[in-house]
């Protein structure tokens, strides 16, 4: 199943009276986008702002970050299960406005462990340079929903508006010759038979929190009743997965499903002839032990018998409990002779090794640990603050102290993080 990414690098983003793509310059017609968003009567109004890479600007709280992409006719659909029927994603041509993001704010801080500031987009300074997102051009979408809108309706409205804007913009690239293109396919031919067979097992949600009724996570479904299942690597990249409405808690944004660093890295090694990337299993972390047993058994079973993998990399979603699901899956794989490496987050708020992991299986001895508990920044005042209301703008104006976990794109759990824990 081949996916062609038609890459259109963008180095300048401006407002104008018509959407246009001239070389690397992208012009956006805000009025058209506004009309489109306001078709959903959950919204009272909507604002758009352009933020450039490295600008002295801060925006928050972040709902989600999406790369503008649009499918060429004849391939799989745009955001199946959300913008259309849930048909298989991941084949045909996808146009990518590379270097840009559609970044949706939310009107209220998600609260819980994220504090009053919520999840922040920081474009400059030390914290900004630690974030993958400060290097992009952002079209920030600032929503104003009707006060009577129920929470789950509001969240769904954010999701729909963001994806529609992203697709609409990228559609203007469909008639433009791309600067570059990339073909993604994990075919295995006879010459590769000797290479090690590697699978990816990725959690996309943690049932610690019950998803909202219409929360769109996999092909538009909210994971209720979901068992681990096989996904072609291209499905991750091409619209099968959107992140939970509670992005920050997962440490995952839709942008890094589209640009999934683990899928990309496995593809790169596959294409260089270092391994056979045999496929992926998508799974969730459970809320209780029976579900955990069921999910981990199914995931391991798929890796072993459907993918016939010899090695697997595993990632988690969310906070503490998903460690157990991840580790139990890895333990079952190791029991069956499948070598594993796992990526975890550092849970040690006291900076002690003994508190860092929620498992201690000796066979799980290849661990990538995304740090974050030891990194805080004092955010200075910035020239521009973008938020959906005055109260939030005042909070975000700074200066204030922030944990690295609350800055989008730093302690990312999708493989993008350049932060690591060092044991000493």
């Amino acid at each position: 199943m081949a996916l062609a990414l038609a890459l259109h690098p963008i180095t300048n983003l401006i407002f104008g009276d018509k959407h246009r793509l001239d070389g690397n310059l992208l012009t956006v017609d805000v009025n058209e986008l506004r009309r489109m968003v306001l078709e959903d009567n959950a919204f009272d109004s909507v604002e758009f702002e352009i933020v450039r890479p490295g600008e002295s600007c801060r925006a928050g709280p972040i709902f989600d970050i999406v790369e503008p992409r649009a499918k060429a006719p004849g391939g799989s659909p745009d955001w199946p299960g959300i913008l259309g029927l849930p048909h298989t994603a991941g084949f045909g041509t996808t146009h990518v406005l590379q270097g840009t993001a559609i970044t949706m704010l939310r009107e209220q801080s998600p609260g819980e462990s994220r504090g009053v500031t919520g999840y922040v987009l920081e474009m400059s300074g030390e914290a900004g340079s630690a974030s993958c997102y400060s290097k992009l051009w952002h079209l920030i979408v600032i929503p104003h929903t009707k006060p009577t809108t129920p929470r789950h309706t509001r969240h769904k409205a954010y999701r729909m508006a963001q994806l529609r804007v992203a697709v609409r913009l990228a559609q203007i690239a469909r008639d433009v010759a791309p600067a570059d293109s990339q073909i993604l396919d994990n075919f295995i031919d006879a010459e590769r038979a000797a290479l090690i067979r590697v699978a990816y097992v990725g959690q996309i949600f943690s049932r610690q929190r019950k998803p909202e009724p219409e929360e769109q996570i996999i092909y538009g479904a909210n994971t209720d009743g979901m068992l681990p299942t096989l996904l072609h690597p291209n499905e991750w990249l091409d619209g099968a997965i959107t992140t939970s409405y509670h992005t920050s808690i997962g440490g995952a944004e839709t942008y890094f499903y589209q640009n999934n660093p683990i899928v990309a890295e496995l593809y790169r090694r596959h294409q260089r002839g270092e391994l056979n990337f045999v496929g992926t299993v998508v799974t969730i972390a459970a809320a209780d032990n029976l579900d955990r047993e069921r999910n981990t058994q199914f995931a391991a079973h798929l890796v072993k018998w459907a993918l016939r993998a010899e090695a697997a990399v595993l990632t988690k979603f969310g906070g503490g409990v998903p460690h157990s699901d991840l580790a139990e899956t890895a333990r079952l794989l190791e029991r069956d002779g499948i070598k594993t490496a796992v990526q975890v987050t550092d849970l040690a708020r006291d900076h002690r090794v003994e508190s860092a992991l929620l498992f201690n299986f000796p066979e799980i001895d290849a661990i990538v640990c995304i740090g974050g508990n030891g990194t805080r920044w004092k955010l200075p005042r910035v020239e521009r603050v973008l938020a959906a209301n005055g109260g939030m703008a005042e909070i975000l104006a700074g200066p204030f102290e922030i944990d690295s976990l609350n800055v989008a794109g730093v302690a990312n759990q999708q493989g993008a993080s350049r932060l690591r824990s060092v044991v000493y």
Binding site: T315, H351, V353, L357, N360, P362, G415, A416, S417
Partner: protein, 346 residues
């Protein structure tokens, strides 16, 4: 750079075990291993003072030793404090660790020691200090001094400290963050390939090992037993009077259930992130099973239920907190003569 060096009576050349009771003595300049240390530290460094103390006195009068040592070190205008190397000498290691910790926290100058991993001082102070791993044999004195001096220079000049293996110190069991070139995805795939090929790899985290907790003896006679309910699910009275934190809680609370047979949602709230508390909010007995335990009490199956239940939040709680709180809760249960506890978690 001015250095103050600490030695025990033996390495200070003042005698063996018969001198272990001697009080702190001060000598100008370097003594014994300090002379070699001074050379190794480089030409701009001098050992200004050497402190020598008997092993027994140092351990039995630790507070007095620390107080007078701090005074001398401060007066000497020291930039660096070094104790030992202590090898396997236990009392020496404990004193060296205690002095280094006090110097580091109160004088805010680097303080470094060296001892064997098996030295009891290493267990006590490895987390607080950089302790150079000296091995057991004092015959390696020269080599250990060289590593100690090299590391001390590194710390004094604020150079980046490498891993325990590279820099030769005893692992402190701590975590720090570092930004690196490779993404987590690249590191992860590197690791799995190395593991599959049987090549060496450096795991970024090591699982902790824990002592086995033996199963406690069974309750002898449940019909006479006094039972207590404890939860780490964060159930607290409305308003959270003890301000128990919802994550990494450092406090626990004890709440009356005297004359109460059934917990009502309107009187309680949940201070605990990470799980969906709606079902406990509807009926707190789902977390703290008061209703059924009261029935058992009435039926005579258990002796008596304690008049209070205990609650804290288990979310993302480091072991250093939970160990202490566990001890405090156990002490309270002992004081109240509790025979059995039902501990519910989420």
């Amino acid at each position: 750079m001015r250095v103050v060096h600490y030695l025990n009576q033996f390495f200070g050349g003042l005698g063996g075990e018969e001198q272990a009771g001697m009080l702190l003595e001060i000598r100008e300049g370097a003594i014994g291993p300090g002379k070699r240390l001074e050379q190794l530290l480089g030409s701009e460094t001098q050992v200004a003072l050497t402190l020598i103390c008997g092993d027994n006195y140092a351990v039995e009068h630790q507070d007095e030793l620390i107080a007078s040592a701090l005074e001398k070190i401060r007066a000497a205008g020291a930039d660096l404090f070094i104790a030992g190397p202590c090898f396997l000498a236990g009392r020496y290691g404990v004193a060296a660790g205690a002095l280094c910790k006090a110097v580091q926290s109160q004088l805010e100058i680097p303080a470094i020691t060296a001892m064997a991993r098996e030295n009891p001082g290493a267990d006590l102070y490895r987390e607080s200090l950089y302790i150079i791993d000296s091995g057991e044999s004092a015959a390696k004195m020269d080599e250990v001094l060289a590593r100690l001096a090299c590391f001390a220079r590194k710390v004094s000049f604020n150079q980046e400290i490498a891993s325990p293996a590279e820099d030769g110190y005893i692992p402190r069991g701590l975590i720090r963050d570092q930004f690196v070139e490779k993404t987590a995805a690249e590191r992860l795939v590197d690791m799995v390939i190395a593991k599959a090929k049987g090549q060496p790899l450096e795991s970024e985290m090591v699982p902790a090992t824990f002592e086995r907790i033996p199963m406690p003896p069974r309750v002898k006679d449940l019909k006479r037993a006094k039972l207590m309910l404890v939860t780490d699910g964060g159930l607290v009275p409305k308003g959270n009077p003890d301000k128990i934190q919802g994550a990494a809680a450092t406090r626990w609370g004890s709440y009356s259930i005297k004359d109460c047979d059934d917990l009502k949602g309107e009187h309680y709230e949940i201070s605990h992130g990470g799980y969906d508390p709606q079902f406990v909010r509807q009926d707190p007995d789902r977390l703290v099973p008061l209703d059924v335990v009261r029935e058992l009490e009435k039926e005579g199956m258990i002796g008596k239920l304690c008049d209070e239940f205990i609650s804290t939040s288990g979310l993302a709680n480091p072991l250093s907190n939970t160990r202490r709180m566990g001890r405090e809760i156990a002490d309270k249960a002992k004081r109240l003569g509790i025979d059995a506890i039902i501990l519910t978690s989420t």
